[in-house]
Symmetry: C2
Subunit: 667 residues, 2 copies
């Protein structure tokens, strides 16, 4: 291939990016222009993908962590033959287009993850590489390399400044994820100007310290870029960072190397000048020369052949490893293996009280064998979160079929890696920490919700009742803050059986993340809670104990406070007050029920309603109404033994009784 | 001093920690036992502090970033003579004690910051060192070193795994904060076991890559520790990390070097064995030998003398630099300089529409000269957040009196550094990013609220109306999630004048953080909003425009949606509907008003109420009631031009009118 044809192809990317952003009057042209050469080499000489089937399980993954450069990705997807017509590029950033401002997973074929919030793509890629490694170790057999692909990413200065990239890089180095190849757009420009004003660390030395293989290349030396990617592939023990010395808005006579080219169109005049400088027809817009398109479109046939060869191998694999192949088929279809929940434990009140975190651990260990790709761990709190699968090894470089992940004290990376694992497909990922530290991982939780990813969070130590550790460790606002995230289902079970049902609901939910909010302290096991999960937890709320006579008051509670409600019900019954206790483990699941069910559980005519939950009262109004009230905690907690705190904060059966009587005007 | 006396002192710390945790039946003995030697050398040979006055402005700062080792700090505070009697150590982790599970700023004299959530203390210390550097450059004069102190911290494996420590370390290295001296408890144990399972990076190389000065010492070689701290002090260009090779639960025959010693009492028997091994009376509890106490208590007189000398210098300074000294006195008293707000701009409707982020920039630049220690910046979004003080330099190593901080794309560190700056005292810190990225900094925002720190957040691009950048950049749940945090005041002003009043409220609030939530898009300036700030924004909500006749409907809105309410009011008036528009920039400020005011603004008898806000509806029920409704957004946004989104998401005057009529039964 002649140098000129290479340049023609590269300038096609460059000009499409300029034109797309200009037409939208909004966007980020500088990055695509600067990294067009690197991307071109990667996509035409290395990337193993099939534009005709973006779901091919063994494709290489490509992550544009610097998501603001979305026009780079859209251009590549269009040019290599994905179902993304040129018309869509002209509709960049418009309502209903498949070319939104930042790449969105699920919307655009070939987009592997939603990026834009910096650092996320970096860590998603680590999750994808981890998934590949686990699946290869678990399913590959001699002569059957079912899983054998690279994970590439383009990462930016901004990605590398974000803490989550440090966390993920440190873990990737530890795990020796050698098939991770990251191309760093070292353009020395960020929004506020030169990176000299804040980012002067020695990035190469830093990544070497994490155990990475580091190379540096000129971002416009195609041979050098190719050699570096090849060397990165050959390095199998260490993840690779290729530092690409690049120039933002490369080719623009007046805007190259300026922060002004980062987040705004170049302007018609500058685009004209740039095209002239590139030897491009100055007045053409969205021009794709046939010769260039032909080069890119070779991906279509290469991809078909590549996948066909793989499918041939997989069919031979299926003949020998029938069970494994059937499992993979189910997982790729987003299904759970049949009968997965048969070993779900049922807990008996006679077993004595059990913390819901412990119940969760028992559930995990009961179902683990039926779900061979249930893989997860904790951010250094496995003994507390009860997330360990006891019969399985750790996932480490030497034991990559291990199912216990050791995330370290890296909650943020954990969240983003879980997303990457879910995005890769084939895995059922979960991760744990204390509920209060869900704050450390909110950005990836939000993205899991936005991407409809089936990730499960095991957030334990769910209230002020953790006691002595004090307010830094006592969640107060976290239930409300998590319920505020669209498409995140939050479940706070009241006992061991509700916990089992919560796990069932979480795993069966294939189109979004689920948070399990669990106690540190022991809770009695309820005789009622072992009922059909579909009629209890899966409904979000249900009648746990009813009045035997008239219905005067509704006590609505979640988690540990359900037991307080039951206690108060007994006391109120003695005073002739008819009380219904509603266990409400999940607002989101309850709100999704038909009105008839909701009104059956919470009859509109009963307006004396008391919510009970050890957290901020925000949002409870929609269940208790203006005539109702909530026993909650709208302040931070304190360090003291649990039982002392229940007294001090007014979470006693007596307090509930008094408040209920007050609602009835019977003080 | 004899080696034996040193050991006696060190073992006093060690045994107090063991005994305190054992008595509480809860806590973390391993870290204090392991780091007792290092802490002893630092506190008796270096730390310049005055136990009699923990507020001495020029004291050295000591941060226990590994806050779970709180008994180490409480022991040191007690032993060196702070107002923390031995009785308090015996009350460790009990209700009402000054020795909570994790150190809490404001509760215990000598505790410089609340720690426990890992990584926070590390970054707080960077903020303190930054504050010292700025204040020294700004206020010191030849012969008057008013600000000249070190910032020390003990940091743990967990701290160094957290992304926020990476971010903060990178920035500290860039800024050449040479007076930062961190002692790293390299004990190779975390909760899940050996750090070998997840944390194998080369920490020393990593910190060198950030531009730090790194040394390694034996954590039990007193001379070596002393020499290393001295070398760290002598290194003035680079922050120092001293890697202390230490053993968790040092001295415990059976628990040393085990994860079991991290977070649980050793047990009576093991404590007895440990005391025997240390040559300590095995049956004594909370024993403080007189000879040891005498050594530690030298801090009292040394501290008095140190502060007295400093006060003498400060008084001479005051004589020459009257204005500067008066300013410092005010700041140390938590007050703003008199007349600080005189230059607050007033915006005129005739000036045309203005984005509230731009109004915020105008405010900042107007008041900057009257507030010489107003210092802040943005996480690489200064041009978008309008946070730059145009007449002032950047804060850089060569220009340390500069007032513009360049945080880089490091939102989390920004939040924690702002906390450190506020904790140091003397500064009025602020920091900006997009509202959606407040998620990246929630942990320090929570801690600012918990610590009552007067930090101001400038969170712009506050809704789906940012348009083309799409759902990754469009905050939906963030207002609700932030309002859920106790003691955080959230203000979303409706125009430029409300923005000025919001800044006034934020700066005058000296006992907690304030979030300013600002638009990207332009908003008209309202003629009503220039009224007395004390009667508008400071009230949280106020009547912006009232019905001229009967009052049929309340339209309650914040920020940009106030203008929609005003528009709808006109249309409804044409239909004979009497509408009051309530501008509600802050729930927290409104909820703090007397009931009489709240009922004046929102008369209970008017139940046709419509809330309007471009975000999740969670929590609005308390203002609109069961008979009211909310026009909000309970789903993620989309990438498209702003005006298109207003139509698609139903935020039009027509939609408001229809909904209001529906509430009145007049569809």
């Amino acid at each position: 291939m002649s140098v000129n044809l290479d340049q023609l192809c590269i300038n096609t990317i460059r000009t499409l990016a300029m034109d797309g952003v200009q037409k939208a009057k909004s966007g980020h042209p500088g990055m695509p222009m600067g990294m067009a050469d690197v991307a071109y080499v990667l996509w035409t000489r290395f990337l193993r993908h099939n534009p005709g089937n973006p779901a091919w399980p063994d494709r290489d993954r490509f992550v544009l962590s610097a998501g603001h450069g979305s026009m780079l990705l859209y251009s590549l997807l269009h040019l290599t033959g994905y179902d993304l017509p040129l018309e869509e590029l002209k509709n960049f950033r418009q309502w209903g287009s498949r070319t939104p401002g930042h790449p969105e997973y699920g919307l655009t074929p070939g987009v592997e993850t939603t990026t834009g919030p910096l650092g996320q793509g970096f860590a998603n890629g680590v999750g994808m590489a981890l998934a590949e490694r686990f699946l290869a170790a678990t399913f590959n057999r001699p002569g059957f390399p079912i899983f054998d692909h690279y994970t590439y990413a383009i990462v930016s200065d901004g990605d590398l400044m974000e803490g989550v990239s440090h966390e993920a890089a440190s873990l990737a180095g530890h795990l020796k994820l050698g098939k991770l190849v990251y191309l760093y757009d070292d353009n020395e420009i960020s929004i506020e100007g030169s990176t000299d004003i804040t980012f002067t660390e020695d990035v190469s030395a830093r990544f070497r310290a994490y155990g990475w293989h580091v190379q540096e290349v000129d971002g416009y030396d195609l041979g050098g870029i190719e050699a570096a990617i090849r060397a990165a592939q050959e390095e199998t023990e260490r993840p690779s960072l290729i530092v690409c010395h690049a120039h933002i808005a490369y080719g623009s006579p007046n805007k190259q190397d300026t922060a002004g080219a980062h987040g705004a169109p170049l302007g018609e005049e500058e685009i004209r000048l740039t095209k002239e400088a590139l030897g491009w027809p100055a007045e053409a817009h969205f021009l794709v020369p046939d010769e260039a398109l032909a080069v890119f479109r070779q991906a279509v046939e290469r991809g078909q052949q590549g996948e066909a060869q793989w499918r041939e191998v997989f069919e031979r694999y299926r003949a020998v490893y029938t069970k494994e192949a059937a499992l993979l088929d189910a997982l790729w279809a987003g299904e759970l293996p049949a009968g997965w929940g048969d070993k779900m434990p049922v807990f008996n009140p006679a077993d004595g009280p059990l913390a819901t975190r412990k119940a969760s651990g028992a559930v995990l260990n009961s179902i683990a064998s039926a779900l061979p790709t249930l893989v997860g761990g904790s951010a250094d709190l496995a003994p507390s979160n009860a997330t360990l699968l006891r019969d399985y090894e750790d996932f480490q470089s030497e034991t990559a079929a291990g199912r216990n992940l050791r995330f370290g004290v890296r909650e943020h990376a954990m969240g983003s890696i879980l997303n990457g694992m879910a995005l890769h497909g084939g895995l059922l990922p979960y991760g744990g920490t204390f509920l209060v530290f869900s704050d450390y991982m909110r950005p990836p939780v939000r993205l899991a919700a936005l991407m409809d990813l089936p990730v499960v969070y095991v957030w334990t130590h769910d209230s002020v009742w953790i006691g002595e550790d004090g307010p830094t460790h006592q969640p107060i606002e976290h239930l409300a803050a998590l319920r505020a995230i669209p498409n995140l289902v939050v479940i706070r079970p009241a006992d061991a059986n509700e916990t089992a049902s919560a796990w069932r609901a979480a795993l069966e939910r294939r189109d979004g993340p689920t948070a399990l909010v669990l106690t540190r302290q022991k809770l009695p096991i309820l005789s009622e809670s072992a009922r059909d999960p579909a009629e209890t937890v899966a409904r979000g709320a249900y009648v746990l104990a009813d009045s035997s006579g008239t219905l005067d008051v509704l006590l609505i509670a979640s988690g540990s406070e359900v037991h307080l409600a039951l206690e108060a019900r007994e006391l109120l019954a003695e005073k002739g007050v008819g009380v219904r206790v509603v266990s409400m483990p999940s607002w989101e699941l309850f709100d999704a029920q038909p009105e008839s069910y909701r009104e059956m559980v919470l009859p509109p005519e009963v307006t004396a309603r008391l919510g009970i939950e050890a957290g901020v009262t925000q949002g409870w109004g929609k269940y208790v109404g203006w005539d109702g009230d909530v026993i909650g905690l709208d302040c931070f907690g304190a360090s003291a033994p649990y039982k002392v705190l229940t007294e001090k904060f007014g979470f006693t059966a007596q307090a509930v009784v008094e408040q209920a009587l007050r609602l009835l005007g019977r003080e």
